[in-house]
Subunit: 154 residues, 2 copies
Amino acid sequence: MSKDAPLTPADMLCFSLYTAMHAMQSAYRPLLEPLGLTYPQYLVMSALWGQDGISVGQIGQALHLDSNTLTPLIKRLETAGLITRTRSTADERQVLVTLTDAGRAMAQRAADIPACVLKASDLTPMQADILRDRLVTLQKSLRASAGGPAPKPR
Amino acid sequence: MSKDAPLTPADMLCFSLYTAMHAMQSAYRPLLEPLGLTYPQYLVMSALWGQDGISVGQIGQALHLDSNTLTPLIKRLETAGLITRTRSTADERQVLVTLTDAGRAMAQRAADIPACVLKASDLTPMQADILRDRLVTLQKSLRASAGGPAPKPR
DNA sequence: TGCGATTAAATCGTGCGCGATATATATTGG
DNA sequence: CCAATATATATCGCGCACGATTTAATCGCA
């Protein structure tokens, strides 16, 4: 029965996601600035701190990004002296990304960033985890309905 | 007692926000493509459908964006024939953005997009509203702790 | 009244995201 | 073994975001 009011941005779930994401990046910015990292670069570094020497494709799989975004980003990390890029000997198509000593050392300097952000988010670890779970579920639903309903009749 | 494991992107709230936002934009893309709008352009149009003839600054306030982002975006909407830009007579500094007939008419063609996205999100309207609320709260906390804790000496 | 401070947009530079395409290597079927 | 196909990365173009600066109009106040 809700009259079809124009539904302004403020009413939309998508918009709350949009602004929350921007606010999150703004929260990270002053913390990453002394490291000389952008937020996406921080994600790549975090992935490498978890598992070093993986390929561009594997990083892309972890972050839901493709080479068109990652290649230049990773080259900037290389220029910054944090990683090296080497062609895999087993499969010359793949480029393996490996942390330098400086890249590994940066993990220490970044160690308390998550705690800082959690504090800024004003959530308990449990609340943060629940919200994270909801967002993961939402993300999966959205991606699922992307490929699904359009059977693409060749 | 949790050992300080490296905390990969997949564990982070910020990352779930990051990927959920991208998934949301991907969900909107095929819906907006026939309208020739990007997602941020859709937000601006939605704001105008709610209240026409507002200034660039008011749009920016609504969307948490500044003129450096909005000016070129709005010019593209003008080029597309959806809005017109006029200097306010009361305050020549302000630029008022007004829907054209085509811009107003587009509201009809966009009317069922929110329902489509809600369906894709696989959430009930109530669940979506709760999640939206959590995200708004999170966003406010993050913004609050941005200006707050750094008293900026001098 | 007039001049410094404030405000609104615009401009510039850099770094994502992502669709589209290109290139090189690997795999597979004949 | 070789040609078709598939896969991994790179390249290009465009449109955001956003810090920093510029320009123009308005305001405050002595």
